[in-house]
Symmetry: C2
Subunit: 301 residues, 2 copies
């Protein structure tokens, strides 16, 4: 029974409908002998007669009827495969597992979600928030389809696509609003509040200050930008936040935001995905969505 073919089932069903080899054969667009041979082989495989051959008409045995019944549902399931393939072909659709780093997620994810649902209603977005290293691993091991991270990732297996640059701004206690303008020197002289290890934003901030983690002594760690901003408000130090976070984090009345004039620190945010992902082409169409989402996020009050 290992060599049973779908054709044979189709032929048997045709035969059950026409009860006549000649007519069933032409319904299947094959010759009568071809049908005879196939049915003979099918019966040989089954080891029992499926057909009762009369001179005038062909009838099915009980077993034959059973085969027709089951064959029909098998063929129906096969036909459904075409439908599945078709709908998958039609448009960018289905599950999209999107990773996103925590220093972007709260600000960008809401508008990304909205934009995607508006533009690709058939896409089921499954966002996941994690630090870059986790996201990259998840991408490489097929647990994610795409991620929003700070570039470069420099992973050969991953395709990178830059979306926009994002400036960092200084967060100071409100009372210092009139004091010295922001500068690298100021940061170096102050207690700097940073995210805990692993967050790329921490590394980016340190890099800007031309410091490495080991030389850092006057530092406190937090695990969300909100926490850090609150700590700044309490006068415990300074911190940097990405431009996009201003709308959300700059609302308090205990801190103030200051931009750097001279050498503005920034990072590049981009999309990454496996080069081998067959959806690559369609991912390209996603980039516009995310750029738009960014515009909305910045424009938000």
């Amino acid at each position: 029974m290992k060599n049973l073919t779908l054709k044979q089932l189709r032929y048997l069903i045709a035969l059950s409908q026409h009860q006549h080899f000649g007519r069933a054969a032409s319904a299947c667009a094959i010759s009568q002998p071809a049908l005879s041979v196939q049915m003979k082989e099918l019966e040989a495989m089954v080891g029992a007669p499926l057909l009762e051959r009369g001179g005038r008409q062909v009838n099915l045995t009980l077993l034959g009827e059973e085969f027709v019944q089951r064959g029909q549902s098998i063929l129906a399931a096969v036909d459904e495969l075409s439908d599945v393939a078709q709908s998958a072909n039609d448009a960018f659709s289905g599950r999209l597992r999107l990773g996103i780093i925590p220093t972007i997620a709260p600000y960008l994810l809401p508008s990304i979600t909205t934009q995607i649902q508006a533009n690709f209603p058939t896409v089921q977005l499954q966002p996941r928030e994690a630090i870059t290293s986790t996201l990259v691993t998840d991408l490489l091991e097929h647990r994610l389809d795409m991620a929003v991270v700070a570039l470069p990732v420099s992973e050969p297996a991953l395709e990178e696509f830059a979306l926009f640059d994002e400036a960092f701004v200084l967060v100071r206690p409100l009372k210092d609003a009139e004091k010295s303008p922001p500068s690298q020197d100021l940061l170096n002289a102050s207690r700097l509040l940073l995210l805990e290890e692993g967050h790329c934003f921490r590394d980016q901030a340190l890099s800007f200050c031309a410091l490495d983690g080991t030389k850092l002594h006057e530092v406190m760690e937090g695990n969300s930008l909100s926490t850090l901003v609150q700590m700044v408000g309490a006068g415990l130090g300074l911190t940097l936040i990405p431009e996009m976070a201003i709308a959300l984090e700059g609302r308090g009345n205990t801190t103030c935001i200051q931009r750097f004039d001279d050498i503005e620190p920034k990072r590049t945010i981009g999309l990454v995905w496996r080069r081998t992902n067959p959806m690559s082409a369609q991912f390209a169409s996603l980039k516009d969505i995310v750029v738009q989402a960014n515009a909305l996020a910045i424009a938000a009050p």
Copy 2:
């Protein structure tokens, strides 16, 4: 998608399990290039990638996963066909639509049913009672598998198998028990009670009396032997019943049973079925069952 084969589904599933063309191929007992080609063709047919080819391992796309899921249930349904075939092969089993004439049914059917259930527990007996002409039509048109009738049927498409001869006995009012012994002359001189038209037993009785229906004037018709016997008891005439009916119909105390001495009337009871029925071989094994059932029926009190 019309040319999709079960092999391709098997290959895809193997690939999803091994995530490696080489190993999946050997699991399928084919070469790696053969597998590559089949998967390529499958994807071409589907019109969308099912596989994501990485250097180290092969992964499935979302659509590929969907195909694997559906493919597995399709293959499961195909495997079930083997089981169906197997169980049908193992023994004489399944539905048996058995026709039986009314002049035998009440006396023979109970023991037939018992015997069949004891000997072929997997057979589902579906008995139907009707006159011979109906049974023959039903057989020819595949509404019955087999029938118990009086032979000969002389239908070329039907196989006949004689089971046993069945004598007819005379039923007279009890008061006539000591009168003239049964003979053809007696029958001709009396009012003969017969079954209505269509029952073969009517024709057999008439034939024995060397009468045809048209010459019959002193005749009443009934539609069951029991009714006729009751009428005999009421002194309305005579009737004939088959030997097998004695146990049931001879119990009353208003009638008596008399056997013919000289030329004993009888008929042959047999099985008939379509020559083309593939179960023919197995039907042969049924004949012993029915013969046994007859022995039981006659032996019954």
